[in-house]
């Protein structure tokens, strides 16, 4: 499998304003990045072990289709904790996620063997999160230099190491990650059951139709736009050159507007979510 199959291709993107600046994954926490959220869920669940782990999960409180707003909060809080949180924040969140993950393991009736503590599966999920952050970051701020890509990549390892992924599981360089990703994408397989779950998400069946209907076309457009060809094929969704042109044009406009937004607006949401995590820890309330 080639990188063109498993990463999105963007021909027109905003120019880089700071080619000599050092970068970190924290710079990618602008709220626009959440536009790629549903695409990232699809990428993660495209691996059967993750897909069935989520679809068959008995942890109702974390079920995206039953408690979508809570799940959105905990997912974005995980990202905030992993990327901009302290070691103490990460330890607290790891403990909370471990509690939920202990209940996520396959049964004799499961068509796929899975266990939420499987470090390879967690590495896949972390890799998906990294790909999502890198894609959105480069759409908003322009293509990184090789050196910046390396800095960005290294700073994103906490996406996995916050849970059970170890540092030596991450491919050592950004170029090595491409090899890992191309190989790992060879293992994706979305069957009808997981596809049905993901289509429910994409059609916003889990939220009030009055709220969901107006946003459904935009969510589908953004989600399919953020999916690489291999995932689009697995999901059975269509994309076209004209939609790609529209997608790139949209992000050229968004990237321009984003230049003018101060950081407290672009990333304030993530800091509020992180503050909520700390408040919950202080008051000994459930994190997930």
């Amino acid at each position: 499998m080639t990188l063109e199959d498993c990463r999105i291709t963007v021909r027109r993107r905003t120019a880089r304003w700071d080619p000599d600046e050092s970068v970190t994954a924290a710079d990618a926490m602008d709220f626009w990045s959440f536009a790629a959220g549903a695409a990232n869920v699809i990428m993660q669940l495209a691996r059967p072990g993750v897909g069935y782990g989520v679809v068959e999960s008995k942890v109702d409180s974390g079920n995206l289709l039953k408690h979508p707003w809570k799940r959105a909060r905990t997912t974005f809080q995980y990202l905030a904790v992993a990327i901009i949180g302290t070691a103490e924040d990460r330890a607290a969140f790891r403990e909370a996620v471990n509690g939920a993950h202990r209940q996520v393991k396959s049964t004799p009736d499961s068509p796929v063997r899975y266990n939420a503590f499987d470090r390879d599966m967690q590495m896949w999920v972390a890799a998906c999160l990294f790909v999502g952050l890198e894609d959105t970051y480069q759409l908003l701020r322009g293509e990184m230099t090789v050196e910046q890509s390396e800095q960005f990549y290294r700073s994103a390892w906490t996406l996995g190491t916050t849970l059970q992924v170890t540092e030596d599981q991450w491919p050592p360089t950004r170029a090595d990650f491409d090899d890992y990703w191309a190989t790992a994408c060879g293992q994706i397989d979305i069957d009808d059951r997981v596809r049905g779950y993901l289509l429910d998400l994409l059609n916003l069946h889990m939220i009030n139709p009055v709220l969901g209907l107006p946003f459904r076309p935009l969510l589908k457009f953004l989600t399919i736009g953020f999916l690489a060809p291999v995932f689009r094929h697995a999901m059975g969704v269509k994309w076209s050159d004209s939609k790609q042109w529209l997608f790139e044009s949209l992000f050229l406009v968004v990237a321009f507007a984003n230049r003018f937004l101060p950081v407290f607006i672009r990333q304030g949401g993530s800091y509020v979510l992180l503050a909520d995590v700390r408040r919950r820890v202080r008051r000994e309330r459930a994190l997930v």
């Binding site: 304003w17 230049r259 003018f260 937004l261 101060p262 950081v263 607006i265």
Partner: protein, 61 residues
């Protein structure tokens, strides 16, 4: 902050400020004197300096 972010911040703060100024001028604009081009200037000044005019209006009640 970058220069672009300062410009964006200024716009974000200026838009509600000027909107309030326009509402204030529309409501209390009958205090504005003058006619012709001078009236346009007085409207613009009223939009831009509405907090001062508000204070003076309150103090003269």
């Amino acid at each position: 902050m970058t220069i672009a972010e300062w410009i964006g911040t200024a716009i974000i703060l200026a838009v509600p400020y000027l909107l309030v100024g326009m509402v204030w001028t529309a409501i209390a604009g009958d205090q504005l004197g003058w006619h012709g081009p001078a009236r346009i200037v007085s409207i613009l000044v009223s939009i831009a300096t509405w907090p001062v005019l508000l204070v003076s209006a309150v103090c003269t009640i």
